[in-house]
Symmetry: D4
């Protein structure tokens, strides 16, 4: 609720058009339903096609199910569940129309939105092992209506693999670059294109990768312009931001 809406609401109260008690309720910024262990946002997706998201890690299968049920009571069309353990997926499938992807550990409840015809999001990975994170990004972007081009295993130690896809890369409106180990993919892509590159360090690797720290630091220190970074393994965050940027309204 911004300043003008607030002013308008107060005028309605002054005019007797809105009762004090009702104004009081509205002044609570946004509605949600309280399950005790979680407060579920509702109506967040006022914009067409915007799905609701549940972060599955650290929640029991029962808790996730309760949240899904609440959202569906609120008539959410599409629900995205990230970091959903296979066992929890089995549990939820019993009572909900869940579609589950084992690689990205993403579950979706409800119908997928159609592609909305806006430009493409390229999701690239340095290696095969980065694919689970990349799929989390790609599936998230698809849930929000984006067209996604996957370029997997195009790490910088074999530049020709990357160069062979230069035209797809050049056509992207936004790029998600997921890489572990030395994480150089984001810098190389950032130097090639003029569009935003969202770098996702992955925990792939061993030894001095220190759980993704090497790729994280590498990406933060990228000398290419237009690169920004999300948390290690945060495919969802990258996919969500990519969709947000891809949907920027015409200037």
């Amino acid at each position: 609720m911004d300043k003008r809406e607030l002013e308008k609401l107060l005028e309605q109260v002054a005019a007797g058009e809105v009762a004090v008690k009702e104004a009081l309720t509205r002044l609570r910024i946004e509605p949600y339903r309280d399950l005790g262990f979680a407060k579920v946002d509702t109506h967040r997706g006022i914009r067409q096609g915007m799905a609701e998201v549940i972060y599955g890690a650290g929640k029991t299968a029962g808790q996730i199910l309760r949240i899904v049920e609440t959202m569906r009571e609120e008539e959410e069309k599409t629900i995205l569940i990230t970091r959903l353990a296979p066992e929890a997926a089995v549990f939820i499938e019993k009572s909900q129309p869940l579609v589950y992807d084992e690689i990205s550990r993403i579950g979706t409840v409800g119908e997928m939105p159609p592609k909305d015809g806006i430009g493409k999001i390229v999701v690239a990975t340095g290696g095969t092992s980065d694919i689970p994170v990349a799929e989390e990004a790609a599936k998230t972007a698809e849930v929000y209506g984006n067209q996604v081009v996957r370029l997997y295993d195009v790490g910088v130690a074999g530049l020709h693999r990357l160069m062979d896809h230069l035209d797809e890369i050049m056509e992207a409106r936004v790029i998600v670059a997921a890489a572990g180990m030395e994480g150089a993919l984001a810098s190389v892509l950032g130097g090639l294109v003029d569009c935003p590159v969202i770098a996702v360090p992955t925990s792939v690797g061993y030894g001095a990768n220190f759980g993704g720290l090497s790729a994280l630091l590498s990406m933060l220190n990228s000398c290419a312009s237009g690169v920004s970074v999300v948390n290690i393994d945060n495919g969802f965050g990258a996919g969500y931001l990519a969709s947000m940027i891809n949907h920027m309204e015409g200037k």
Copy 2:
């Protein structure tokens, strides 16, 4: 040079329209001039209003001047120099029309572009001490023709200061959030708006801020969607990316 351009060039060579030697030159992806200690990109700014950038840290005043001269010979209209030491500024001012800002340590050579009328970029800081980094972001965005709204000293420990600017925040197309210490500003802004938030951790603080690490980790772990992070104190990177996103063409 993308695939179609490559194909076209090869057809021209095949048709005898382009000589082998010339094709060879063109196949070098982009032109630059080699100063020995630096390779200066030229013609990078084909798009209207795109300025050239020199990263001033780690370069001598003489090296920076040489690069500026080379760029101006190439008829660049606007040159942005970041991390420019005051002494180097004094040296360059002697022979170049430098405008220098002591707080952000940014110098500009050549005329500033007019505001291009696209939506606003909000640059916010947690405290007063974060202003130098924020100004680097703001000035960078302005050099690329963006309109910038500055909201300084609106850290989360005094929410009312932030809330008082809710309407400006809500109107932003992109937000740059610069904060040191606990770096929570990015999360709070990210939770309030639907536009991309570029988080810039600053090295402001002491003790367990470990040179900006506290804000960096805080921002990377933001549970708000739409937040991505650049390097500690990297105001330029944030401003550049904000401009890039702000200029996304209509979908």
Copy 3:
């Protein structure tokens, strides 16, 4: 034993009222019983309602049982066992009247004290996954007779959830803020209230949270006054300190 008690004891020895041997024993500052692997404090709870605590991690079920038995022989009314593994709980239940909570992994032996009517302690969490740590804090506070208000899943990325509970927050005498990831909850609460805020970083999150380091550093660097921090996941420490502050005698 403070200086006056020491002086008094020495006078009693000088007067022959206390034998040397007895004085020698008393001069050992506080009594305890030695089990070999552990020294069990007794009579620590001279103040009404003060329960004894066993830190369960790193102790075998047998060791915990032995300590419980010793305490009960010393007629302790309430025994709190933290970090009690479910298997150890099953073992102890066989011979002791244990009440066990799976979420917080807290066990209690003996009757719970009544609420003592002093002001409320608010225990808040950033997300659902922080609840086990928060429950450790809340249950600890309750064992010491405090009234606890739970505000769960009120993280800063959705400020309205927090703002909706402003009156409960404003009424608190002490606040415990448990949050993982960016840990900003403590700063925002600390900026809203005038009472002490005990920040508990949790290890909830992934990637660059580095096992709770992100929330820990964020909380230590809070620019809100009145915030102090306990160890990562240390719900007990927060609950105990909250109770101690809540029970401060009138000035």
Copy 4:
């Protein structure tokens, strides 16, 4: 502004007793004055004796002076400036009645409040080198009207120095323990007393103290109950919190 005040304000608007425009202003949670580079809270100290605080680090002498002048225009009685560089102190002294302490780098403008007769705060240090941080805590507490007992150089490597002050320690309502190096002072004090101990790790030491990290981790891992920690070298935070706890109203 809590829920009841909000309800009352809305009723006044509904009754025409308060104009919409005025209500709008009041709904901004708290007043402040905007200096551009800083937003200065005013009237924060409604409670008797509560001083205003300026964090001096990272601000120019001119900026600090501007903030002081603004506060004095708002008729603040006591202003506390922490981390005030000696040169800045010289600058401010020219136009303001500043009292400056070189050791703690604390400046005060305006009259000091009288001691308010509530219990004592003990400020202890492990060594001589910790005194600047301890003085920041002690002076802060005094500015808020507390009586402070200083116990300096009582580190655990010479227990008798500490034990010789047992009666002063036992009489404390709150203890601030400032120590660098191994930072064990907080644990030992925490084990001796029943009152809250606020641990301040200091950056005193060398080598593997890693700028205060050793004391910080030591204090966070304290196995004594009732201990919480503030940022490295954060004497102000400790002193402020100590005062807040010391002033807890009778239960």
Copy 5:
């Protein structure tokens, strides 16, 4: 493809000897086959005896098998699979002539090349527990045709064990030094010989070895000349580089 080849290709296009489409294909630097989840290099081993390598970690048994099959269709003679889990080995053995070594977790498919008579590579370890990493290096070197001398358990805490093999050490053309804990083996060897020493820190040890960090830092800080370092536990990288150096053509 270097500059001269590029020139030649363009001349062929100009002369009509090579069609545009074909040139386009050739300009993709090197051939590979795309399996979707992985891009498999082919013909990389133009040089006699050069085997193909699959990094087994983070790939499913099925993925590894698919890559092996593709390589064998391309008529690779020797395939080396590193970090191959025992279960995956069992799976692959069913359809491929895999030879598997449990200690180094290395699998080979196809015939081993004969020793090519060039100088010896010494692979040394500090202790018995470093052997798996050392064997990964040794087997890798053998797959590329090198003669390997193994010196295991010759750590610097028992110099005589090392000194007893001085003649083998002195005869080496390249040395691989694998050690965990304090990792001093590389420095001592580097001080004794005039040939390159490739240091492999291992994660062997406990406590303050921090997963191999102690040996890594020790080796990076070696004051012996001629020592360089690969990733923690990266036996393959060391063996591959050792082979590359051993095969340097005569000057």
Copy 6:
């Protein structure tokens, strides 16, 4: 072999009393037997009562057994095996007279030496959970003939528990202080006594103990004189060094 022995050996060669081949052999500093995967020192224990040690971690049960057999063939009287997994113990017990302690995971083969009547070594722990590490130290010291006094669960958060054993502490010739969490025990003991204190940080604790780092840094920064530190959880190293110091010959 020191300089004089070398001189003597050379004179014997010159005099024809020792053959060149034999001298060559003797010049290898100390004898050992080579098992391929390990080089087993023999005759190291020339001094009365000195046992041989096998570090069990990272070795298979078979490897350990082979080393034990080799040592016994060399007529070692007492063999100490540290970090011996229970399963390996079961395996070795089948053919060797192993005595195994589950808590310290120490195994001994052969008769224990008698106490040699030299002064006592005190082994103290901060808590119950530190006992396994402490027992590794204590048993190691006993295997080398020392008399050990165990003081367990005497952490600094309950000083009276420690003070009650002041006489035992004061009588120690060497002290081993094993503690996790804040690791303050070593400093407090170091401040009380005039004998060497060997500090063993343990990995006991959680959260910001970072696997023993907190205790390690705390102990390294001890401001008590006479304190030195061994690796985290290195009970053996502490026990061995304590024995070495305890056996220092009269000055």
Copy 7:
């Protein structure tokens, strides 16, 4: 004061031989004089030849002088001041008979004790740059009456330099090994000798030495027995402990 002395004192009180007030005073464990900013131990050096020590870092020249004066009033014969800045030395020299060594930054006031004829302490360094730390250790040991043998620049990258001093090394009763960079000197020495080796990591080096961390971790992970570690650059601690061990009374 141990248990028996306590018992005796109490009996004297019971017998009226000692007044309560006097007993009270004596029960304070050890005497010291309180200068406000420091508590100066007196009579600590009951044992012949034991000097008093002042840690000079973090104290002003004036504070150090005050402590020296106090000690000399208490008739201390030898006072050792470590980490004494050259400017402070100049200040103290004006009124005290200070002898100052610029390399080790150690000052001594009063006569040096004669060598007491007990065995030698070897102080060794890896390189020339480690000498300041080594001299702090050596001078400290000399102040306590020990004979010191200096072996400088004998790092492991040139084993022959070390081996050439084998006889001096073998004759040592205690060894102090100071080394930066890879810190391997301690392990090599620990493997050669049967006496305690006190390892002092130094901050010498650059890059990945991280201020001494590389040497510290290397030394903590030493696989040689008999090695323990003090803080980075802590020459005093090593020299003090070496003297303490060297003076162990005959068993």
Copy 8:
């Protein structure tokens, strides 16, 4: 001295051809001259063209001069001094024919060896600021007779700059890749060539580069084969190793 030389020497002693005293001297592995603060190797450069090296950091100008004089007395032809401070250079120039390079801080005394006609070493940098480190490597390689090709400012964020030098890169026998920030240059080069790549992380950058840690980790985690790493900013080590590999004798 290897085993055969030892055997021969012993036979000469047995035959009376070599006196015991002389043999004793020779058995010291290599000669050096002892300056007290440093042990200067002599005759190390038996191989033609091998220069002596002095690491200048941490040594006084006087110490460096003493070492230079000693080496020249031993008739060393070329002396290389790294990390030589400008002031020290001025001091040494007074009495020695020093040639000093300000950028790399390298000094040489004596004549430079001629290029020896063996293949080229490419020294590449990511940016202009990496040049000092690269020059240390390049000059070191030149001092040892190598031909060096410098490719500066060819970082991966502008791939075309790098690709334009593909032929020089392909012709290299060894490559030194010096880069700060994200350090991706080593990986990209490693993926392009078949020769060894020595990666030198530099401390160039700011913020989350953590003094070179980002580039270090990136390079250690390189997924390109044939890459190994030296210490941060260790240009000398890279140049020395590059020369050693370049001079490998024909197989």
